[in-house]
């Protein structure tokens, strides 16, 4: 398990390759990359606030839950905080397993939980001002799948 909370950028492809290279006899690796999307009337900054200390603990707990529910050989979570621009990578997860079903389900689960249970808050800065991104009912509902 490799969990990183950082303000600096990361190289998703490079991380995917080193994650895969660390595995022993994995047959399936799934990755998810979350990217800052532009919004009307033009996003200047996506500010990501987090709760230092709790963030790492919460992600570790979610990752441990994924490792225990599926036959994973490993998982990776990288999540940034600070001021990001459209097109920048916000976060990534990767999962490795002998078989594809476990790798897919675990990555999907990790994303649902990171979205609604890891202490990050997004604030959009546009020409119109700033707005805290509201949590979506559908994201909370997604947790019921697991």
């Amino acid at each position: 398990m490799d969990i990183r909370v950082q303000d600096s950028d990361f190289d998703a492809g490079g991380e995917l390759n080193s994650f895969t290279a660390r595995q022993t006899n994995a047959g399936a690796v799934v990755s998810f990359t979350g990217i800052v999307r532009d919004v009307e009337p033009g996003l200047s900054v996506m500010e990501i606030e987090h709760y230092p200390g709790m963030t790492e603990a919460a992600i570790t707990k979610i990752a441990e839950e994924a490792m225990s529910r599926w036959a994973l050989s490993d998982c990776l979570v990288i999540h940034r905080f600070g001021n990001l621009k459209p097109g920048e990578d916000i976060m990534m997860v990767a999962t490795a397993s002998a078989h594809r079903a476990d790798a897919f389900a675990a990555a999907d689960f990790l994303m649902d939980y990171l979205k609604s249970r890891a202490p990050f808050w997004k604030k959009e800065h546009t020409a119109d001002g700033t707005d805290w991104v509201a949590a979506k009912d559908e994201d909370e509902a997604a947790l019921k799948r697991w």
Binding site: Y51, A57, S116, A118, P119, F120, W132
Partner: protein
């Protein structure tokens, strides 16, 4: 003494990211009532508890939870990570 932390718009409404207070509150709800009665900015920040989440010592909890022994309580809106 207990540390109270605020994040996102809760932090903005209350005006500080963190404060230390002396409290006899037994539960999160009692602590919220105490804060609400202090000043208008707290009453505003805590007006709709449905829109708030609470963590006790960095673990998600709920408003009925006991505070016994807690060192750090954090209030924030629903998370929007990922």
């Amino acid at each position: 003494m207990i540390d109270i932390l605020y994040f996102a718009w809760v932090r903005e409404r209350i005006g500080v990211p963190k404060e230390q207070i002396e409290t006899k509150a037994a539960t999160v709800m009692e602590l919220v009532e105490e804060l609400r009665s202090r000043e208008e900015r707290y009453a505003v920040a805590f007006s709709d508890l449905e829109a708030l989440r609470v963590a006790i010592d960095q673990e998600l909890s709920d408003f009925d939870a006991q505070l016994s022994g807690a060192r750090e309580i954090a209030f924030f809106p629903p998370m929007t990570g990922g």
